[in-house]
């Protein structure tokens, strides 16, 4: 039943204009940020005939690393977990919310009545879609990095080890998106609409980012740090940081939220993100499994 439903969900996602629009927006924003980074370095080095120094030397060095191989991998994965996460919320909300609002959930579940398989198939199809988006993002990133490095003379030191750890980075990036994705599905199921899904996902994201900014309070008291580190955002930040480190980056140079001294340890971060994912996934499953399926909303 899962395989059948996955094939159906994949066809729906593949043919959905919203999915392509989200991919285009993601790749566009990624390209834009890489071009801006390139311009920042070019201005810093006077390559455009003007010399502008607004960043510290170590910050520019970090950007140079992000525009080079293998640092570009960490940079792209970082983008996946910022703009990509928001776009994933919109896509997931549209995917489940659409089934409620168009009434197609009835047609599907009267033919394939295993609701657990339905939710699992939808989640896996979305993750596969995101995986393809990440891979395309990496290709675009490498392409722009090669152009930028040719212009600015940035060094590349791509090793076999970098390619071997790339799947780990991709898997970690998808793990970071997973709790938001499942929360969005749970919200869409609870509210039986796309709007409810978007609202649930985005509101939580805003709240979570806000709560994550409390991380620096952890410097005041270890107990406060432990409590704050049970929130999702510090753990997400920890995993994002690790993804950067995997490719020789130190993103704390550019983002205050990524202060390694107060962020949770990698094991805790992974565990907390998995626990949140299970909690949101269970809520989504319970809602879909127990609720009556009504007509179009």
């Amino acid at each position: 039943m899962f395989t059948r439903l996955f094939a159906a969900e994949w066809l729906k996602l593949w043919r959905r204009p919203l999915a392509w629009a989200m991919l285009a927006i993601f790749l566009g924003l990624l390209a834009l940020s890489l071009i801006l980074w390139t311009l920042v370095v070019a201005l810093h080095e006077g390559a455009l005939g003007i010399s502008l120094t607004v960043l510290r030397e170590e910050q520019v060095a970090e950007i140079r690393r992000q525009l080079s191989l293998p640092g570009i991998f960490g940079m792209v994965l970082g983008q996946v977990n910022s703009t990509g996460g928001i776009l994933a919320i919109l896509l997931a909300a549209g995917s489940l919310g659409g089934d409620y609002s168009w009434g197609t959930l009835r047609s599907l579940l009267s033919r394939a009545p295993d609701r657990r398989a339905y939710l699992l198939a939808k989640t896996m199809a979305l993750l596969l879609g995101l995986l393809i988006g990440v891979v395309l993002g990496l290709l675009v990133g490498v392409l722009i990095a090669l152009i930028a490095s040719a212009w600015l003379g940035l060094p590349h030191t791509l090793s076999v080890r970098d390619l071997l750890v790339l799947p780990i980075g991709i898997a970690r990036a998808l793990l970071i998106i997973l709790p938001y994705l499942l929360l969005t599905l749970a919200s869409a199921a609870l509210g039986r609409s796309t709007l409810a899904g978007i609202a649930g996902g985005i509101v939580f994201l805003i709240f979570d980012i806000g709560a994550g900014s409390l991380t620096s309070l952890g410097l005041v008291n270890p107990l406060i740090r432990q409590v704050i580190n049970l929130l999702l955002q510090p753990n997400i930040n920890s995993l994002v940081m690790q993804n950067g480190q995997l490719f020789g980056l130190d993103q704390s140079l550019l983002t205050n939220a990524l202060d390694p001294t107060v962020l949770p340890a990698p094991f805790q971060a992974t565990l907390v993100v998995i626990i949140y994912s299970l909690l949101f996934g269970y809520t989504a499953w319970r809602t879909i499994a127990r609720r009556d399926i009504t007509g179009a909303q």
Binding site: R4, A8, W102, R106, S107, A112, P113, I293, G295
Partner: protein, 305 residues
């Protein structure tokens, strides 16, 4: 549940659905035999769609149970619904997909081979428009596509909720013909419709529901059979006949219809009535029991004005 009921296409036993204080379906016990064309009637809000949704495992019963093709729906929905095709409420499709791709989605979900799509599109005469996006379809085209979707699994039991909504008279006649041909191939049809004329033409048995309660159930012919009304057509002016009939002690009423009279009296008195009118010099052109229509019966049973 009896053996006969468990062998049936549909058997419900005290099937109940309650939404808070409101009882949507009230202890419905119903049996539809395999191969039957069964009409399921009721005014808006009677509980027809809720019953369909419970038969499809979409709505959880508050009490009682539903057995479809011999399998309890709540206990084993996958097996119960494997040979069921259903069209419930308004047609529901992905507007951004073509009609063909919508059917592909359902084929994949139901584990049905995709060549079947061409066959069902042919049946509902949608082949030429199948590659267009559903968002440009008219209501009638969506209705036809919904019927195609219903037929995809080559179902043994077909549940149809208002299948001719939005169709023109020619389309309605085609669907009626399709229902007959499916029935002729041994399929069981469970038809919810407001088109009582249509139901009367295609259904062998009907059940009438109101406020979740079963008011009547039986063979259409038997339900419409009335033993208290005679249909009398008089040659020429009927006023003398009306006066004569009203004078009879065993006639309790005379109603004037378009070209005939409805005489309220036991049908066993037909011969006596004919002789009386003939002896009084009133020629009777036609005399028969008045079977009435399903619509009359429906309005009478449901108490609608």
């Amino acid at each position: 549940m009896s053996t006969q009921a468990s062998d049936a296409a549909i058997a419900t036993e005290h099937l109940t659905k309650r939404y808070g204080e409101r009882l949507a379906v009230d202890a419905l016990t119903l049996t539809v035999q395999r191969g039957e064309v069964f009409g399921f009637l009721g005014p808006n809000g009677a509980g027809k769609t809720t019953t369909l949704a419970m038969l499809l495992g979409l709505v959880r019963p508050s009490a009682g149970r539903a057995v479809v093709l011999g399998v309890d729906v709540a206990a084993n929905p996958v097996t119960a619904l494997a040979r069921v095709g259903a069209m419930i409420e308004a047609p529901a499709f992905y507007p951004y997909l073509s009609g063909y791709d919508n059917l592909r989605v359902l084929c994949r979900a139901g584990g049905i081979a995709e060549p079947r799509i061409a066959e069902v599109l042919e049946v509902v005469e949608m082949t030429s428009r199948a590659r267009e996006r559903v968002r440009v379809y008219s209501q009638g085209m969506k209705q036809r596509l919904a019927l195609a979707a219903t037929l995809l699994p080559d179902p043994e039991l077909i549940l149809l909720d208002e299948p001719t909504n939005g169709l023109d008279p020619a389309g309605t006649a085609e669907i009626r013909q399709l229902i007959r041909s499916l029935a002729a191939r041994g399929r069981t049809i469970f038809l919810c419709s407001h088109q009582l004329h249509e139901v009367e033409q295609v259904c062998e048995r009907v059940a009438i529901l109101k406020a979740g309660r079963l008011l009547a159930e039986g063979q259409v012919a038997a339900l419409l059979q009335r033993d208290q009304r005679l249909r009398v057509r008089i040659e020429g002016d009927a006023s003398e006949a009306i006066a004569l009939l009203k004078a009879l002690p065993w006639v309790t009423g005379v109603e004037t219809a378009a070209d005939h009279l409805i005489v309220v009296t036991p049908t066993s008195r037909a011969a006596e009535l004919n002789a009386y009118l003939a002896a009084s010099g009133v020629p009777v052109a036609e005399l028969a029991p008045d079977a009435g229509s399903l619509e009359d019966f429906f309005l009478e049973v449901t108490g609608a004005p």
